[in-house]
């Protein structure tokens, strides 16, 4: 049973991580408090819903199971484009004003939610998960590890690896880090900061889209989907230490594991309270999160 709890904890951590990864970029690297992140997740989920409907309508039933393979890049792409538009029309005015970005993007979130309500209707929509993700891996004494949860763990790892290579190994990534660390200097060296900003934000949004796609396997798809995850996602990033991928992973693991433990020992409501109390206490102890960066500047 403890094995299963461990797995559950891992699974919750992976979902949290997936939800927070995009935020780790937009908030962690760019210092934009994007409250519309949840709505970008929602966009990813609705993209999956649309992909499913297109498959249902235009392709033979035998092909249906493969819609999900296409849905992941589709969600990424759509959320990417929305993120790009958002950055170019709005976010670029907000660099260096993190608290203002919080308020403005909250307004954006409201609009996107209502937009979803107008387009898709207020009720939830259903996404049928592909049959190859049904069932699970049976390991001893009837403990079943659902394929969907395993799939999400794998997806997170894939995203992490891709992000790692993009940020730390690619040419584009190097520019991105340069801009995030010293905008003026990067600009002096001929890096187009406008372009890099837009790309970075869009990639963060795209990853939120992937998260939305994955979440269709686990939960509801409706206009308010994003609101369920947004606060948790911020907690993950802050707990981990802003600006560090490793920190985000640790943050997600910490919250996921403790959540499962507390929920198992007490109940869901109390478990949630305890987790948040722990976060508050932890931040008192280490205000900069698990992985902190020191600086010598005055502020």
């Amino acid at each position: 049973m403890y094995l299963l709890q461990l797995f559950n904890g891992l699974s919750i951590s992976s979902i949290l991580l997936l939800v927070a990864l995009g935020l780790a970029i937009t908030f962690g690297l760019m210092k934009v408090i994007n409250m519309a992140h949840g709505e970008l997740i929602m966009i990813g989920a609705y993209s999956t819903y649309l992909t499913q409907n297109i498959f249902k309508a235009y392709l033979p039933a035998s092909m249906f199971d493969w819609y999900f393979v296409l849905a992941i890049p589709a969600s990424f792409a759509i959320a990417f484009v929305v993120g790009l538009i958002l950055e170019m029309s709005l976010i670029r005015f907000l660099y260096g004003r993190p608290l203002d970005s919080l308020l403005a993007t909250w307004g954006v979130g409201l609009v996107l939610q209502q937009l979803a309500r107008s387009i898709f209707g207020a009720p939830n929509v259903a996404v049928t998960s592909p049959s190859w993700l049904d069932g699970g891996l049976m390991i001893m004494d009837g403990t079943l590890l659902p394929y969907k949860r395993l799939f999400i763990i794998a997806l997170v790892i894939a995203c992490l690896v891709a992000m790692y290579f993009y940020i730390y190994r690619s040419h584009e990534g190097r520019r991105m880090r340069a801009v995030m660390q010293n905008r003026d200097m990067a600009a002096c060296l001929g890096v187009s900061t406008r372009r890099v900003d837009a790309m970075t934000f869009a990639i963060g949004s795209g990853i939120a889209g992937i998260a939305g796609c994955a979440l269709t396997l686990m939960g509801s798809i409706g206009p308010s989907l994003g609101t369920y995850y947004i606060v948790d996602a911020f907690m993950v990033v802050v707990l981990g230490g802003v600006g560090k991928l490793v920190g985000t992973v640790l943050g997600a693991m910490g919250i996921g594991m403790f959540n499962t433990l507390f929920e198992y020992w007490t109940n869901a409501s109390l478990g949630k309270v305890l987790v948040f109390v722990c976060i508050v206490a932890f931040l008192q102890w280490k205000p900069m999160g698990f992985v902190a960066m020191r600086s010598r500047s005055l502020d």
């Binding site: 049973m1 299963l4 709890q5 559950n8 699974s11 919750i12 979902i15 209502q114 309500r117 209707g121 207020a122 009720p123 939830n124 929509v125 259903a126 996404v127 049928t128 998960s129 049904d134 069932g135 699970g136 079943l144 659902p146 394929y147 969907k148 949860r149 396997l217 686990m218 939960g219 509801s220 798809i221 409706g222 206009p223 308010s224 989907l225 609101t227 369920y228 995850y229 499962t260 929920e263 198992y264 109940n267 869901a268 409501s269 949630k272």
Partner: protein, 419 residues
């Protein structure tokens, strides 16, 4: 110095304008702001009867409530097409409760005291009803509340057209004990309806020989049920009695299926999952699970046939009807019938006329109970089929008399309100 002062003066001017706009503007010409209220209201206001429709059109509860608005509007249109009430057209005034309880109270107050509506159809959550109740009692308005709820209430200014506990929960528990097993696991969202419902169920289980093997509440908006499902597995219940709210149902049922538990392994009976919710959860995960309601789209009555047809014709073929939708629709007709009988929209007269009023609703014959202002309803237990519709497994035969305080049940003596 000068600039500062001019600047403050400017602000003060704006303040003035606002205060005046906020309070003064309206009194002189009460119709003006109401005129904007809905496009329909611009029609001749004199020879119509205004009614309020107050549900959440935004926020988390919009998921459920928007369909009820549709049903109520349809009933109003039908009645108007048939000549209206007392020879006058019904004019709906729409307001958004925005899933926020104080907003419900505010809008209720506006509908009664500003728009002077004859009655209001509205509310979904218990909290929204509790928020509106004092307003209706204070201003002597009339509210028709269309959703099943936890009982223990009977306001003289509210008509309850959804089921109270003895028309849904109590009979379903009895049925489950007789047909599915004795070991119950109670799972609900952390709010008033599930907690009160489970309080009742626990007493009933004690009295009728059931066994409680677990009880769990999850915060509203909870999205991961892995831990709860392992707890359920450990407890090995025969029945999971599910009072989860809206979105949580989706996560719970999807993850229940992934954990390898089907309706054959454990029976789940839900009281908040209707046809509408099935569409959002997906038939693939819900097939075979049970629900307890008073109405299904498949309920076989002549009125229901035309009701479903008209609803689909009006709002689209893919739409479905469900219990609260039907209860909202019924509420409008019951009110109209009461007004016709009373010959007036006066609250006291309508209430008097509504006593023992009968109507052939889509769910079957319903009757208003004068004492509690609830309605007699038939209890039905249904099983989700692969087409997303319910198959009725059992019904109570005749309409059950509403008993919101469960006075007719000895075991419920301890759950009376203290006041």
């Amino acid at each position: 110095m000068k600039k500062r002062l001019f600047y403050q003066l400017g602000l003060l001017l704006v303040a003035f304008a606002l205060v005046l706009a906020g309070c003064g503007g309206n009194n002189n010409e009460p119709a003006s702001t109401n005129g904007e209220a809905s496009k329909v209201t611009d029609a001749p206001a004199e020879d119509g009867i205004k009614v309020g429709i107050l549900h959440s059109q935004s926020g988390t509860m919009a998921i459920s409530e928007v369909s009820v608005i549709d049903a109520e509007m349809m009933a109003i249109d039908e009645i108007n097409a048939a000549g209206g009430v007392l020879g006058k057209k019904i004019i709906p005034v729409l307001e958004d409760g925005a899933s926020d309880w104080p907003t419900f109270a505010e809008k209720a107050r506006k509908l009664i005291s500003e728009d002077k509506v004859a009655t209001v159809f509205g509310g979904w959550t218990s909290a929204s009803r509790k928020a509106m109740k004092p307003v209706f009692e204070e201003l002597n308005g009339l509210l028709w509340y269309p959703v099943q709820y936890e009982g223990l209430e009977a306001s003289p200014n509210i008509f309850y057209t959804g089921a109270t506990t003895n028309q849904q929960i109590v009979p379903s528990v009895t049925w489950l004990l007789e047909n599915r097993g004795k070991k119950f696991y109670l799972l609900g969202s952390d709010y008033v309806f599930p907690r009160t419902a489970n309080l009742i169920i626990k007493e009933q289980l004690k009295a009728e020989g059931g066994e409680l093997v677990g009880e769990e509440y999850t915060p509203l908006g909870h999205t991961d049920y892995a831990t709860i499902i392992s707890k359920i597995k450990e407890a090995k219940p025969d029945v999971v009695y599910n009072t989860l709210n809206g979105d949580s149902n989706v996560a719970f049922f999807k993850q229940l299926k992934d954990a390898g538990i089907t309706s054959k392994d454990i029976t789940t009976l839900s009281v908040s999952v209707a046809e509408e919710e099935i569409r959002g959860i997906g038939v693939d995960v819900l097939e075979g699970h049970l629900a307890a309601w008073n109405y299904y789209q498949t309920t076989d009555t002549p009125t229901n046939k035309t009701f479903v047809e008209n609803y689909k014709k009006k709002y689209g073929d893919e739409r479905v009807t469900a219990d609260p939708i039907e209860a909202g629709y019924t509420a409008v007709y019951l009110w109209a019938a009461a007004v016709e009988k009373a010959g007036s929209t006066d609250v006291a007269k309508v209430k008097e006329a509504a006593k023992d009023l009968e109507w052939d609703a889509p769910e079957g014959k319903v009757k208003i109970d004068g004492e509690t202002q609830h309605i007699y309803k038939t209890v039905r237990i249904g099983e989700v089929q692969s087409d997303g519709q319910f198959k009725e497994l059992w019904n109570s035969g005749e309409a059950v008399k509403p008993d919101p305080y469960l006075k007719g049940y000895d075991w419920a003596a301890s759950i009376q309100p203290t006041e």
